[in-house]
Symmetry: C2
Subunit: 354 residues, 2 copies
Amino acid sequence: MDAKRATIKDVAEAAGVGVATVSRVLSGGSASPRTRERVLAVAAQLDYRPSALGRNLRQRRTGGIGLLVPDLTDSFFGRLAEGVLACARSAGEPVVVGSTGDDPEQEAELIGMLLEQSVDRLIAVPSGDADAWGPALKAGMTVVFADRLPSEAPDDDEADLGTTADLMLLDGLTPAPAARSVDVPAVLADDRAGIRTAVRYLRGLGHRRIAFLGGPGHERRVAAFREAVGAPVDDELVVFATGSRDSAYAAASGLFQSRPDLTAVLAAGNVLGEAAVLAARELDLRVPRDVSLVMYDDVPWAELCAPPLTVIAQPARDIGYRAAELVLRAGGRRPRSVVLPTELIVRGSCGPRR
Amino acid sequence: MDAKRATIKDVAEAAGVGVATVSRVLSGGSASPRTRERVLAVAAQLDYRPSALGRNLRQRRTGGIGLLVPDLTDSFFGRLAEGVLACARSAGEPVVVGSTGDDPEQEAELIGMLLEQSVDRLIAVPSGDADAWGPALKAGMTVVFADRLPSEAPDDDEADLGTTADLMLLDGLTPAPAARSVDVPAVLADDRAGIRTAVRYLRGLGHRRIAFLGGPGHERRVAAFREAVGAPVDDELVVFATGSRDSAYAAASGLFQSRPDLTAVLAAGNVLGEAAVLAARELDLRVPRDVSLVMYDDVPWAELCAPPLTVIAQPARDIGYRAAELVLRAGGRRPRSVVLPTELIVRGSCGPRR
DNA sequence: CACTTTCGTGGATACGTTTTCAAGCATCTC
DNA sequence: GAGATGCTTGAAAACGTATCCACGAAAGTG
């Protein structure tokens, strides 16, 4: 019924040449026009497709690239993944996707699995500590981080001053401390500029008590927030949720209730923004009359929301695409990091301080 | 620097046994307690991890499972994928994901790539014709369709009466013609019942001119729609978009403009629903006063919309999870298809006929 | 005690490919 | 014409694993 696939040996026999010749022809090596034609014809006729299994074993590496994201349900990571897939497809490379749930333990498990598969190129939105990536790097993996950097490892030696160098800067973008403890390239949105823009925008509307609603992996964003608002940061106005929607809602709701004096909220991601809208509505806070809202990350539904949400847009798809580019043409050379610009899109969720 | 990984040979030598014994111990074969313990200890000490490469080549199949979806950007497929990943992770299996863009050509290309990788288990949201799946099946792949069935192949011989059998029915669900031309199990939402429920709901509100806004792969839904509305179907009220958001918007906008007499719209997917809301707003049609709207597929933002959208919810994640279950424990036996229930969630986007 | 059965074990093989190596042959150079 | 040079080619060796098979010892049976 299912005739077993033709192997390179079959092709060689049918063409009356050695297997080495077939391999060379198909890999673009040198061969006489005469034999090349014959081999190609026979291969086509036998519908021969080289088995990735044999090749992988021989060169001791799986072709494809790994992709680790916290949650494909989150629109941002969906877009990012789509970018990676697009780039990988154009290169003909398969991509193994894992969802970590923002859990360092699951992440480590998935890394182990990729290692076992001999996947040697990985693009990841890291959840674990910096030293969670030791195994992957030690195994010789080419890793590129996307969207985030791993949080600083809780290491004891403190000789860990971040080098701000090694960044390919696009015009006017603020440099980011890429690849601090672990020396790994990254593709990031310009969180610092984005957050600063948002804060300045809210400031310009008269807001003074601006809250920050963050989630896992938003360390860089909250740092940028602290920097943007300046010295006296009211710590009660900075709250964090875990990954789940429930947690985000709880955090938002708690924030609104504990600090009714806040006049604006900056949500650090789209599920947090969603939670903020929901919580505000539930508590009968009108947006933007009672409270202004800026969401980090633009999503299609932001426009459908009532009111339409003012957002900081990130090029999620591009982040994925460029990360894939980096990891693909990392020909031994360690690629440099990339920072992509964000954009403030003003819609209707921000008003003057009440 | 990066010490090469230990192989089974190293373990065998270090433990003073043969490689066969090591393989057996690690694969759960029989071995004396004494040697088993030794081997295990040595393996742990050497941090040995069996290489998937060698194993795959030996058994001529890649461990993992393939997943083909039209677009990870679409929340529905994101949730579906997350379900697949969850199940696969609990089984320790890697999953290779491809995004087809609802394009049969890209789909075929991705199938070819999976074939080349010797991935022998595939769960797919099909875009191509039924006979586009010939190669995969002929190669012995275990395929499970999710969310859709492939459209009928434009074949010449017409002896193609669908067998409605071979379906594992949950209580009260309508049977679906699973695996018609190609005999492949599937995990589907009960589109027929879901659409019927929506139509009946709108009917109950007095609506008579109900439009259907569909996209690629919604053949079963439009059929259910036609069946639910009964004999005289106004073909102008049934419009289709291609996959893109732009196309969806154009279709929705065109529909509203060409048929201002329609009083309700049933959008067959979340991006179509989004487009409908946008188009209605742009044309100054009030929802639900001027036009009622039901969206097939519930998404988080449906509640944030103005007005909140009445939807037919599908268990997207479960669909993915169950599909993965099917494809994983398909121990030679061909698994049966599964149909999962949908649910009408009434929010605020439907009103009585104006 | 002689015989059979069971069990634990290791050597050898095959999986399909890429790559190295040396050999064969034609062409070029002096 | 002899030697050097270039190109094409096929045999063979890996790559790391699972599994077949045969062998020996221990256990069971008469």
